[in-house]
Symmetry: C2
Subunit: 278 residues, 2 copies
């Protein structure tokens, strides 16, 4: 039996997957790209040894990164997706009829191409006329826009390596300037089980820039630590409030989940005071 | 480097842990018992190759199995704990001043002894005067009581092997008869990510017996699938409602979490109709 041992330097548990097929292996200018098949999860995209998506459970992450802020915004038209080369976030964004333009900024074109080939169900939106693909550094792209973006969704790899520039005060500042008055920013921010200190750090950095900062979570089985966090920043709108009807097709996200997924106030306060001990 | 490869036949991801020390290895009449030490999780109790508790994250499971039903009951006095030989559930139950007696029914005395030696912070309540230890099959014990128990908490190993008798209609029926009018029953029921069909099966079996059946979840990093479920049954009381003030010391559980942890109604309905696809 062939096995894949995940190489996640931040995880105290190593995840091992059975491999029924190795479908793709390449090395782009940025990273090693691999597609394997697993009996339970179906096809899996692996970048630099870390699982990014699996056919079976990608919906949890993609729905939760996308729909919370897109329901908190009263009328999202211009959306920026940074990273997410597999196309999963773009697919979810396009479910919103209000959206006129998706600026899809992925530094590594090779990931988009691999996803087109092996994950057609995930990459299905990347060639939609509303989507403009730019293969460049997301931190550079946001410098080119001022005050006209409704939502920025950051779907990067972990907070290490070349994705690091997407977790700095400078980046958050540029993003804020890029956003319109009602704009919202959201980024993955690792696991509350395994990377609590990183979660706090991202929140603290965002608070230096955004007047409103919040945190919500979702259960994701294939990301180490699984109790996954999403950090939201905005100029004024609270992401806890839904400002549009829930009228799209989703599997996990719903108005019910929107209302349950945010950190409870007292727990959030304890987290930020570093009083949650585990 | 020494590594421990978890042997969980139900998990599509194999979890691998670094081992800094092997502290104990024995074979009881029921199972293989091992205690290892890991740099991140501290000491870990392993039964038949499956992680049961770790010093670092045991609080999540123990608090969540215990405090939801003990806050849903107006005045819990007589509590039965089945399994949970490590003592974690007993420790949590004893935080409730109303509790007069804990019937601690663990089939394998050896687990209690190993926990006394290696997990004093977990086993700290097992020798409390309010606790009566009986080393026998939980399914047998409940046959001996009629209508005077306020809460039954089942903390067994996974739904395979010798714990299977704790997940049958017969067992649920005996438990219901054992409970007083306001009594509640709760049991672990595996992961929504990896064992959705098992969760549904346990709920369906419980519905044959209990007038009220419900489901709540908690994130647990060291149990495969991590999005862990707890199945509650009762004669009449809904576990969603808190009937007593939250006035105990906990780290994860709180009145906030009590109100957030239950499956949202529409999602629950879809789950039971087998319409949740993942």
């Amino acid at each position: 039996m062939i096995k894949f041992f995940e190489k996640d330097p931040y995880s105290p548990i190593q995840y091992v997957y059975e491999v029924s097929n190795i479908l793709h292996q390449s090395k782009s200018a940025f990273q090693e790209i691999m597609v394997i098949e697993n009996p339970h999860f179906g096809k899996m995209l692996i970048l630099d040894g870390v699982v990014q998506i699996t056919e079976r459970d990608e919906l949890f992450y993609h729905e939760m990164l996308t729909h919370v802020v897109l329901h908190a915004h009263p009328n999202p038209k211009q959306v920026v997706v940074i990273g997410g080369g597999d196309g999963g976030i773009v697919r979810e964004v396009l479910k919103h009829k209000t959206v006129e333009k998706v600026h899809f900024i992925e530094i590594d074109e090779e990931v988009i191409n691999v996803s087109r080939t092996f994950f057609p169900g995930v990459a299905c939106g990347v060639d939609d006329p509303r989507v403009e693909i730019k293969c460049m550094d997301g931190a550079e792209f946001v410098k080119s826009r001022k005050g006209d973006i409704d939502a920025i969704l950051v779907d990067s790899t972990d907070i290490i390596g070349f994705a690091k520039s997407l977790f700095t005060v400078e980046f958050f500042k540029t993003c804020k300037e890029c956003l319109a008055e009602d704009g919202l920013f959201v980024s993955l921010s690792e696991s509350l089980h395994f990377h609590k200190e990183m979660v706090i750090e991202v929140q603290e950095e965002m608070k230096k820039i955004f007047p409103v900062v919040d945190l919500y979570t979702a259960p994701i089985a294939t990301y180490a630590g699984n109790w996954w966090t999403f950090s939201v920043g905005s100029r004024k709108l609270s992401p806890r409030e839904m400002r549009r009807e829930y009228a799209i097709e989703t599997t996990y996200y719903s108005d019910e989940i929107h209302n349950q997924c945010f950190m409870p106030p007292r727990m959030y306060e304890k987290l930020m005071k570093k009083e949650l001990k585990w």
